[in-house]
Amino acid sequence: MWNISGVNVGQTPVFRNSQRLLQGFAILLVTALRPKRTSICCVAGPLQCDRRKAARENNKYGDLQAMLMGLKRLFAFLFLSILTPMTFAQQAASEAVGDAVGEAERWGVNMTQGVTEVSRTTYDLHMLIFWICVVIGILVFGVMFYSMWRHRKSKGYQASQFHESTLVELAWTIVPTLILIGMAVPATKTLYDIYDTKEADLDIMITGYQWKWKYDYLGSDVSFFSNLSTPQAQIHNELPKSENYLLEVDEPLVVPVNKKVRFLITANDVIHAWWVPDLAVKKDAIPGFVNEAWTRIEEPGIYRGQCAELCGKDHGFMPVVVKAVPEDEYHSWLNERAAAAARIKELTNKTFTFDELYARGEKVYNSTCVACHQANGQGVPGAFPAIAGSKVATGPMDGHLSMVVNGSSKNPAMQAFGAQLSEVDIAAVITYQRSAFGNNMGDTVQPIDILNFKNK
C-alpha cells in the first residue's frame, strides 16, 4: 500500500536536488554582489573617491570625518543594494534579449487585438471591463485617500461615530449589481459568437502530445507533428537566443485566410491546452475526448502561441505556430505536403548507407528524442533513461525496434513512435542511437525492416 518499492530515500537525488538549490543561491549571490562592488565608486563619483584616497594618505581629517565617510558608504551600499539589482536587471535584460526582439514588442503590457473578429471583440470586452474597474477604483480609492489625508488624528480631526445607513448600504448593493448586468450583456453575446457551430470550410484535428502538437487535416492524408525548433544550445545559454526563441517550430500549422477553420482538439497522454492569443482560441486538449473551437483569420501572417495547461517537464517547450496564407497558396502547400508524404513512402524501399541514416537520424533525434533523453544521450536519472550505453541501444536490434515502434510498457513517457514517425525516420534514428553517444554498435537498420517489423 505504501509503494515503497519505487521510492528510494537517501540515494543520489538527495545530493542532486540539494546541489541544484545551492548552485541557485550561489549564482544569485554572485550576480547580486558583482555589480555592487564595482559601482559604489562609480555612483559616489570620482570626487569622493579622490577625497577618500586623500584622507587615507594625508590623515589630516579627524575621526568625525572618517565616521561620516563610513555613514555615507553605508547609505550608498543600502541604496545600491536596492537599486543595482534593478538597473542590473535592465542591463542584463538588454544583453540577454539583444536586438533579437524589437522595442515595440518588448514591454508589452496589454492583450493583443489579434486578427480575427472574435479576438477583437474579446479585446474590446477586456478593455470595457478594465475601464469600468478603473473608474470604480478611482472613486473608492479617492474617498479613501481623501479621508486618510483629511481625517487624521495628527490634524486634530474629531472622529464622528456614525456606523450605519440603510439607504447608503442599499445603494452600494444595487448600483454594482446594475453595473454587473451591464457587463454581462456584451459578455454573453461574445460567448454565443464563440460557440457558433455552423459548417466550417476546413476541419483540423489537433492532438497534444508530451511535448509537441500533431495536426491532421481531415479529409486529406496530410498529418504531421510540430516540434519546438529552438536548439537546446540556445535554451542552455550556449548560443545567443534567436528572435522567436521558444516560439518557433519545425512545421507550422498552415491555414487559409478568410475561411472558417474548425479545430477538433484532443490529447494523447495528459491534458494540454492549445492557445494562440492572436486568434483568441484557447481550448483544453483532453485525452479521450474531443473539444471544438474555430477561427477565421483575416490577415495572412505567422501567429505564435504556447501550451497553456501544465503537462509535465517540457510544458514550456511546446509552442504553437499558425501560418495563415492566401487560399491558393494554401492549396499548393497542401498538395506539396501530400506529395512529400508520398515521396517518403517511396523512400521506404530505398537502401540507405550508414552515413545517410546517421545524418538523418541526428536530425530526428534532435527534434523528437532530445527533450527527454537529452542532447548527450544521458537522459534524466530517475525519470528518463540514458541511451548512452543502454541495454536497449546496445542490445539486439529487435528490442530496440520494439521500444521505438511500440513504446515502453513500463514507462508511459516512452511513447509508441511507430505511428508518429515515418519508417525512414525510425530507421535513421535507431541507426543514429546505436552509434552515437559512444554506443559504437556501427550497425544499420533499413526503412523496409521497420515496415516488415510493423507488419510482422
Binding site: 471583440t121 456606523h163 491534458i271 484557447k282 517537464k313 508511459p412
Partner: protein, 516 residues
C-alpha cells in the same frame, strides 16, 4: 484552578492551552512561510533571465507545486487557525477552546504531514511536479512515485483542518460568555465561524478526490481515466468544488482581522456590522456554486459557461459591500497609521485590485485569453499575499503586545511594511503585463519579449523575501523584551481581549466576564 505552564518541552507536547497551541500554529506557519518563500525565490531566480540557468524544468515544476501546497496548506491556513486559537476564546469570554485535547492533536499531526510532504523532494523521481491543482492524469498515471506520500500528507492535513474547524465551531456555539449573543460577536469570530463550516464541508471533498487518485494509481479503478470509462475532467470538477471554497477559507478570516483593526485606528465603530455578517455568509454560499469558473476552457456547454460566469460576477456584490464598509469606517474617523493599520489599509487597496482582476477573469470569453497565464498568477497573488499574508501580519502586530506584554518596535514595523509593500507590488504588478502579453504560467523558460518584466518581478520577490526577515527579527525581539504594553495597548480598542492584562495570563476568563 489556575496554574502556570509546565516547564520544558513537554509543555508544548502535551499542552491543551489555547494560547500555547495558538503560538505553535503561528510559529509553524511562519516556518512554512519561509520554506515556501524560498521555493518561490528559486522560481523567481530561474525566471530572472530567459534560458535555463539554475534549475532544470522537472525541478522547476516540483518547486511551483511545493510552493503552492506549502503556502496554502502550511502557511496561510495554520496561521489563521493559530490566530483563531489565540483570539476566539479571548474575544467571546471563554476560558479555553471547547475541545482542548483534540486541539493538541490537530496541531501535532501537522508537522508530520509536512515532513512527509517535504521528504518527497529527496525521493527517486522527485517531489510532486503536477502543480498544486494536481490535475489528473498528470497526477495519476504520469506522476512520480512520491505521489502516494503526497496523498497521505493531504489526508493528514485535511484531518487536522477538520478537527481544528470542529473545535472552533464548538467553541463559538457553546462557550460564549453570558450576554455575548451571536450578533454581538466580533467580526473575526463571525468570519471564522463561517470559515469553519466551509472547512468541514470541503476538506472531506479534497480527501475524497485524493482518495480517488490513490484508488486509480494503486487499485485499478478508473475515476479519472477515460480508458476505464472515467473522465479526467471529473477530477477538475471535484477538485474545484473543494478549491473554490478553499479560496474563501483563506480570505474570510482576513476580513475579520481587518474589520477589527480599521475601527481601532480610525477611532470610530465599524460601519455596517450586520451587512458585513450577511456579506460574509453570502460569499460563503456563492463559493459553492462558482467552481467551474476555473475551468472555462475545458469545453463546457454554453449554458454552463453562462451560469458560472453570472454566479462568479455576483460575488463582486458582497465583496464590494465589504470594501465600501471599510472605506466608510475610515471616512470621518480620526486616523493614526501604526503598523497594523498600514497593513490593513494596504490590504484594502491591494485586495480590491485583486478583486478587479478577479472580476475580469469571471468574464468567460475574456477568460479564454487570460486562463492559465501570468495574469491569473498576478490575480491570485494579489488576493492572497495582501489578502491573507498582510492581514495575518497586521493581526500579529495588532495583538502581539497583548500576547507578549511588550510593544514591538514601531520603526522596524514601518520599515517591514514599506519593504513588503514595495516588494509585493514590484513582484506581482508586472505579472499582469506579461500575462496579458501572452506568457503562460508554470513555465521555467520564456520567450524574449517577456524578459524585462520578469526580471523586475524577480528583483521584487527578493525584496519581499528580505522584508520578512525584518518581521521575524522584530517579533523575536518583542517576545524577548521591549517597552511595556498597557492592558488596552491601543487607544480605546473594542473587544473583550483588551480587558485582560498584557501579557494575557495563561488562563483567562476562568469566570465568565460580564458582557454589556
Amino acid at each position: 484552578m489556575a496554574h502556570g505552564p509546565k516547564p520544558g518541552f513537554t509543555r508544548w507536547l502535551y499542552t491543551t492551552n489555547h494560547k500555547d497551541i495558538g503560538s505553535m500554529y503561528l510559529w509553524f506557519s511562519f516556518a512554512m512561510f519561509l520554506l515556501g518563500g524560498c521555493m518561490a525565490l528559486v522560481i523567481r531566480a530561474e525566471l530572472f533571465q530567459p534560458g535555463l540557468q539554475i534549475v532544470q524544468p522537472e525541478f522547476f515544476n516540483q518547486m511551483t507545486t511545493m510552493h503552492g501546497l506549502i503556502m496554502v496548506f502550511g502557511a496561510v491556513m495554520p496561521a489563521f487557525v493559530g490566530l483563531a486559537n489565540w483570539m476566539i476564546p479571548m474575544m467571546i469570554g471563554a476560558p479555553d477552546m471547547a475541545l482542548p485535547r483534540m486541539n493538541n492533536w490537530s496541531f501535532w499531526i501537522l508537522p508530520f504531514a509536512f515532513a512527509m510532504l517535504a521528504s518527497t523532494l529527496f525521493m527517486e523521481g522527485g517531489a510532486p511536479n503536477f502543480g498544486w491543482t494536481f490535475y489528473a492524469p498528470l497526477s495519476t498515471e504520469y506522476a512520480p512515485p512520491s505521489v502516494t506520500f503526497f496523498i497521505f500528507s493531504i489526508h493528514i492535513m485535511g484531518a487536522s483542518s477538520i478537527m481544528g474547524a470542529i473545535n472552533i465551531v464548538a467553541t463559538i456555539l457553546n462557550m460564549r460568555a453570558p450576554g455575548m449573543t451571536l450578533m454581538k460577536m466580533p467580526l473575526f469570530v463571525w468570519t471564522w465561524l463561517i470559515t469553519a463550516y466551509l472547512l468541514i464541508a470541503v476538506m472531506p471533498v479534497l480527501a475524497g478526490v485524493v482518495t480517488m487518485m490513490l484508488m486509480d494509481i494503486h487499485f485499478g479503478t478508473s475515476f479519472f481515466s477515460a480508458a476505464g470509462g472515467g473522465d479526467p475532467v471529473l477530477f477538475q470538477h471535484v477538485f474545484w468544488f473543494f478549491g473554490h471554497p478553499e479560496v474563501y477559507i483563506m480570505i474570510l478570516p482576513a476580513f475579520g482581522i481587518v474589520s477589527a483593526i480599521i475601527p481601532t485606528f480610525a477611532r470610530k465603530p465599524l460601519f455596517g456590522y450586520s451587512s458585513m455578517v450577511y456579506a460574509t455568509a453570502s460569499i460563503a454560499f456563492l463559493s459553492f456554486i462558482v467552481w467551474a469558473h476555473h475551468m472555462f476552457t475545458v469545453g463546457m456547454p454554453i449554458a454552463g459557461e453562462l451560469f458560472f460566469m453570472y454566479a462568479t460576477m455576483l460575488i463582486a456584490v458582497p465583496t464590494g459591500v465589504k470594501v465600501f464598509n471599510w472605506v466608510t469606517t475610515m471616512f470621518r474617523g480620526s486616523m493614526t497609521f501604526e503598523t497594523p493599520m498600514l497593513f490593513a489599509i494596504a490590504f484594502v487597496i491591494l485586495f480590491t485590485i485583486g478583486g478587479f482582476s478577479g472580476l475580469m477573469l469571471a468574464i468567460a470569453p475574456a477568460d479564454f485569453q487570460y486562463h492559465d497565464t501570468y495574469f491569473v498568477v498576478a490575480h491570485f497573488h494579489y488576493v492572497l499575499v495582501p489578502g491573507a499574508i498582510f492581514s495575518i501580519t497586521a493581526g500579529v502586530y495588532y495583538w502581539l503586545p497583548k500576547w507578549t506584554g511588550h510593544m514591538y518596535n514601531e520603526t522596524m514595523g514601518k520599515v517591514h511594511f514599506w519593504l513588503a509593500f514595495i516588494g509585493l507590488n514590484v513582484t506581482f504588478f508586472p505579472m499582469h503585463f506579461v500575462g496579458l502579453a501572452g506568457m503562460p504560467r508554470r513555465i521555467p523558460d520564456y520567450a524574449l519579449q517577456f524578459a524585462d518584466f520578469n526580471q523586475i518581478a524577480s528583483v521584487g520577490a527578493f525584496l519581499f523575501g528580505a522584508a520578512q526577515l525584518v518581521f521575524l527579527f522584530n517579533v523575536v525581539r518583542t517576545v524577548r523584551g521591549g517597552g511595556k504594553a498597557t492592558d488596552e495597548v491601543w487607544e480605546n480598542p473594542q473587544g473583550l481581549e483588551w480587558t485582560v492584562p498584557s501579557p494575557a495570563p495563561y488562563h483567562t476568563f476562568s469566570t465568565p466576564p460580564a458582557v454589556r
